[in-house]
């Protein structure tokens, strides 16, 4: 693709434009988060931090932010354990039907999350359990497990089995091989999976929609409900916080493990 210089220029220009389409919306949010007018106005008329102050001073936003962080923390623990264990079993267990199991555990990625929310809501209603916070944790864990599984499986499939075999030949017990060879090697994949689980839960919307109660809503649900009536800078400031968190996560995963390894590219 690199031969004709004109062709090359068109190729790079097209890709530059697509990249702009991908990133400009995130930058635009920053403009509105700093613009003092209490409604959408462009070009901006000044710079203010009042929207960030409003966001951080509002009990409604802060309670939901805190709830989102708590749920995400619990999801990280649960999804990392479940997902990494399942990935090990699928890669090493010689399980019959492992392809079907893999498809099942990855299914929440592609099946409509709004239906996962509806189905869980219905079961909790039937059992008379209402909508406890742990229902949110369970719903989010379902969509976070596939990420942990994928990053762990990615590391497992690159991993040279002969290292484990060498340890066995040298007389290490299966337990010792697991803790001293296998676990340290897959750790980066598991950590990356845990970080993905955090951000997936923090951003989760459709499942939460069914499982929150009016006085206990996660941040995305509060933002959504706020946006139906008001589009002031507080939403932009909250969005900025969320975008910065996503950027931090991306850089963190890249530093810790390398994004490339976790994305199977």
């Amino acid at each position: 693709m690199a031969r004709g210089t004109l062709g090359r220029r068109v190729y790079l220009a097209a890709n530059g434009a697509i990249l702009f389409f991908l990133l400009a919306p995130l930058a635009v949010v920053a403009v509105f988060a700093l613009n003092p007018t209490p409604f959408i106005q462009f070009p901006p008329v000044g710079v203010t931090t009042r929207w960030f102050q409003k966001f951080f001073a509002s009990p409604e936003f802060m309670n939901s932010l805190w709830l989102s962080l708590q749920v995400a923390g619990a999801v990280v623990v649960l999804a990392t354990f479940i997902g990494a264990a399942a990935a090990l079993a699928l890669a090493r267990g010689r399980l019959p039907g492992s392809r079907v199991l893999t498809a099942l555990f990855l299914a929440p990625l592609m099946l409509p999350a709004i239906l996962t929310g509806l189905a869980l809501f219905q079961v909790f209603q039937l059992l008379g359990l209402g909508r406890p916070t742990w229902a949110l944790v369970i719903g989010h864990t379902l969509v976070a497990v596939p990420y942990v599984m994928r990053t762990t499986l990615a590391v497992l499939s690159d991993f040279d089995r002969r290292i484990e075999e060498a340890a066995a030949i040298l007389g290490a017990s299966p337990g010792r091989i697991f803790f001293e060879v296998t676990l340290p090697i897959i750790r980066p994949g598991v950590i990356a999976g845990g970080i993905f689980a955090f951000i997936v839960s923090f951003d989760q919307f459709p499942i939460s929609l069914f499982l929150v109660t009016p006085n206990r809503e996660t941040l995305p649900v509060v933002l959504f409900n706020y946006m139906k009536f008001d589009l002031d800078g507080a939403i932009a400031a909250a969005s900025m916080v969320s975008i910065l968190l996503a950027l931090a996560v991306v850089v963190l995963i890249d530093r810790l493990v390398g994004l490339r390894a976790t994305m199977r590219i």
Binding site: I40, L104, L111, P112, I199, V250
Partner: protein, 287 residues
């Protein structure tokens, strides 16, 4: 060919239990209740009925909404493919390590930003006072704001932005595994770069195109937030009607029936997606 199952297989037990209890069982309950005429825990003499499904077919609102959901999904997928392919190709063929890492970050950062936040970003860009219209009116290029939002156009633009990273990552994985020397061989035999791409790389990346399209289509037809906020009341997708049945009328059985319709479409997509990935993996084993 019977290999002994390793004790490590037991590590799948927590995931298995979790998914049976909180995934398969709830979906089963949803499907079952959508075909019953009451709650069997409260009334012992419930019977099977097709009335919820008959209601979907009887009322043109639901059929039209299904068709419009599929249409929005198809357009979103097509545009995401057109935008995603060049970027995936660039990513897969990027030689510089730093360039590759930066580009990958640029693709993944939007993906990890919440859907509500990204939809808000598009409202600030496409609304009547948004960036695009303010600029056009300010420069005198338009006398009145263009209708970029509260319609299918705005919905599709935002959906493409939200799901294009999934397309890029799927495609880049496949393009990256195509041997670049095949393209070079074609060109050294006299093919133009465009012809080498069209006759070598493009056909070899077809499984990626298929897998990425199935993935994006499945995600786009399940979207709730974006059609709700970007479509105004002009766009009524199936997920919006499903939530409405719960929030407005608390008709869980009928919501479940609508859910089953969406679920059937999604399961077909998931099976096709796994089939494409499976045959891709098998071909690599042979190669």
């Amino acid at each position: 060919m019977t290999t002994r199952i390793s004790p490590v297989a037991w590590l799948a037990a927590p995931a298995g239990l979790f998914f049976v209890l909180f995934f398969l069982l709830p979906f089963g309950v949803m499907a079952l209740f959508s075909a019953l005429d009451g709650n069997p825990l409260q009334r012992p003499n419930v019977t099977f009925t097709g009335r919820n499904y008959a209601r979907i077919l009887d009322d043109s609102l639901y059929v039209e909404s299904l068709l419009s959901t599929l249409k929005i999904g198809a357009v979103t997928t097509l545009v995401a493919l057109l935008l995603g392919y060049p970027l995936a190709h660039w990513l897969a063929r990027m030689r510089s390590r730093a360039g590759h890492a930066l580009l990958l970050m640029a693709v993944i950062a939007p993906m990890l930003t919440g859907i509500v936040v990204r939809t808000f970003a598009w409202i600030t860009i496409l609304s009547d006072k948004g960036v695009v219209n303010a600029t056009l009116v300010g420069l005198g290029l338009a006398s009145a704001p263009l209708p970029l939002m509260y319609n299918e156009l705005g919905t599709v633009i935002a959906l493409v932005h939200i799901y294009v990273p999934f397309m890029v990552l799927t495609l880049a994985g496949v393009i990256g595994r195509i041997d670049e020397r095949l393209e070079e061989a074609a060109m050294s035999l006299g093919a133009s770069p465009i012809r080498a791409f069209l006759e070598v790389t493009l056909p070899l990346s077809l499984p990626g195109i298929l897998a990425g399209s199935l993935l994006v289509f499945a995600l786009a037809i399940s979207a709730y937030v974006t059609p709700y906020l970007m479509g105004g009341q002009q766009v009524l997708t199936l997920p919006m009607l499903i939530y409405q049945q719960v929030a407005a009328t608390f008709n869980l059985a009928f919501a479940g029936a609508l859910g089953v319709v969406l679920l059937v479409v999604s399961i077909v997509l998931v099976i096709a997606y796994n089939h494409v990935l499976g045959s891709m993996a098998r071909r690599e084993d042979l190669a």
